[in-house]
């Protein structure tokens, strides 16, 4: 059996068996033929070594073709549009939450910097001795980094969730049309290993600094004010 004949039979049998990724399988056999031909084997020898293409095709597992659903396409589209409305609202909420976290990060950074440079616009910041403010400022700056990293990850999460929902949308329509479906997408974002390590380092570092400085800030504020409720001693709520 020649190469062409072998490939034609194999392709036909794979198609009959409804095997997925036929192109990849055929390309692999083509590459095998090319490799062995380069070694000096004849096409017939290679085909014999490989075995019967019918038997080879039987080894591959068939892809389950989606059955065409009975519900009407119009009904499905209506349902999806209805779902999209609520899902859209949900995504807007998630995006808004990301913006809130970004805003929180910038606000934390601004307050931290304000305490460090002794700036109190319109007297909105609660008064405290400079070095107590400096310890809290370190805590707030770390919180800003932590929040920014959190908002970045949350943004990526929303984006990936949107993609996954898009794929779900596509597959539902494909099922109703009896077309093959695409594999589902994961709901969470996947970072590159290096980015992942950096991200983890930044998050753990900023979380540690935030927690440490916050606790130390509370302790020094309490000792400086002479009471655990230092906010009363410094008249924050008067």
């Amino acid at each position: 059996m020649k190469r062409n004949e072998f490939i034609v039979i194999l392709t036909k049998r794979l198609n009959e068996q409804n095997v997925g990724d036929i192109d990849e399988i055929i390309a692999e056999y083509e590459a095998h033929f090319a490799y062995k031909l380069a070694d000096g084997y004849t096409e017939e020898e290679i085909a014999i070594k490989l075995g019967d293409p019918d038997e080879l095709a039987c080894q591959f597992v068939a892809v389950e073709r989606p059955k065409k659903h009975d519900i009407g396409r119009g009904l499905l589209v209506t349902g999806l549009v209805f779902a999209d409305f609520f899902t859209g609202l949900f995504f807007i909420l998630l995006a808004a939450w990301t913006m809130v976290i970004i805003g929180f990060a910038f606000a934390s950074a601004a307050i931290g910097v304000a305490y460090l440079i002794e700036l109190n616009p319109y007297g909105i910041l609660p008064p405290m001795p400079y070095w107590v403010g400096a310890v809290f400022a370190a805590s707030l700056l770390a919180l800003a980094v932590l929040s920014l990293a959190g908002s970045l990850y949350f943004g990526l999460y929303v984006k990936q969730l949107l993609k996954a929902y898009g794929r779900f949308h596509h597959n539902r329509l494909a099922v109703s049309a009896g077309k093959p479906v695409l594999p589902s997408l994961r709901a969470y974002p996947k970072l590159k290993p290096r980015e992942n390590r950096l991200f983890r380092k930044v998050v753990l570092g900023s979380l540690t600094i935030f927690a440490l400085c916050f606790v130390l800030g509370y302790i020094v504020a309490s000792i400086t004010a002479g009471t655990p409720g230092f906010w009363h001693a410094w008249n924050w709520f008067v």
Partner: protein, 245 residues
């Protein structure tokens, strides 16, 4: 003013962490960071000490151990002096370490009246010296044959302090003169007791300086041992991961 002590502790911890991270960088990057930092330190102190007299201000002779180190450490490192490298690292780590220890223990009491800007500048100058010294200690091998440099360096600092006493800032509190005059030891005893036992004070002082030299070399060995043990361990983990893949 406990908050200043706590803030100093935070800065000190951050410096240690930063020095550890920089010591793991490649030599070219590390050298560039240290050179840039010391160039800024030198430039800042030239502006602070040299220019004011030219504009009619008061000349203040640098006499304190750390103030002298602001000039000597960058000059030795930036000029690439091989003889002076031991002194540069020693002076950097000693000046920075004792400053931060003082700040952590009694910063609020001693520096309460200083403005935040002055304290931040002081943090920067001493922090740069400490960071430089610690990074060098973690990455460079200092052989014992560099010990004479330490004796000469310490002798020069003392000589400078003694000779320049009339030019030193008379209003400020200078720790080096408090140490040389034994102000704190004197305050704990009568004048006659001090006259009898002052030699014990000075011998103790000399022994402490000699012990700091020994400690410097001991720490260098410890840091380098730690670094060389850490590298193969990481490589093994990496190799295992590759073989498992």
């Amino acid at each position: 003013m406990l908050a200043l002590n706590v803030f100093s502790l935070l800065v000190f911890l951050a410096l240690n962490h930063l020095a550890g991270s920089v010591s793991r960088l490649d030599e070219k990057t590390r050298t560039m960071i240290l050179r840039s930092l010391l160039a800024i330190l030198l430039a800042f102190n030239i502006v602070k000490y040299v220019f004011p007299p030219l504009w009619g201000g008061i000349w203040r002779m640098p006499v304190e151990f750390s103030t002298v180190a602001y000039f000597v450490v960058p000059l030795l490192y930036l000029s690439g002096s091989k003889r002076g490298k031991t002194w540069a690292a020693y002076a950097g780590i000693l000046a920075g370490f004792f400053y931060y220890m003082t700040m952590i223990v009694a910063g609020g009491r001693i520096y309460a009246e200083y403005t935040p800007a002055n304290i931040y500048l002081s943090f920067f100058c001493h922090g740069s010296l400490y960071f430089f010294g610690l990074t060098r200690l973690k990455t460079e091998i200092f052989l014992r044959d560099g010990k004479p440099t330490l004796y000469v360096g310490m002798g020069m600092v003392l000589l400078n302090a003694i000779v320049s006493r009339p030019l030193a800032n008379p209003d400020g509190r200078l720790f080096i003169y408090e140490l040389l005059d034994g102000i704190h030891a004197r305050s704990m005893m009568s004048a006659s007791t001090w006259q009898t036992w002052s030699w014990v004070y000075y011998i103790t002082l000399i022994l402490l300086v000699l012990w700091s030299f020994r400690l410097f070399y001991r720490l260098n060995v410890l840091f380098l041992q730690k670094a060389t043990q850490a590298v193969p361990a990481c490589r093994n983990v990496h190799a295992n991961r590759l073989s498992n893949a």
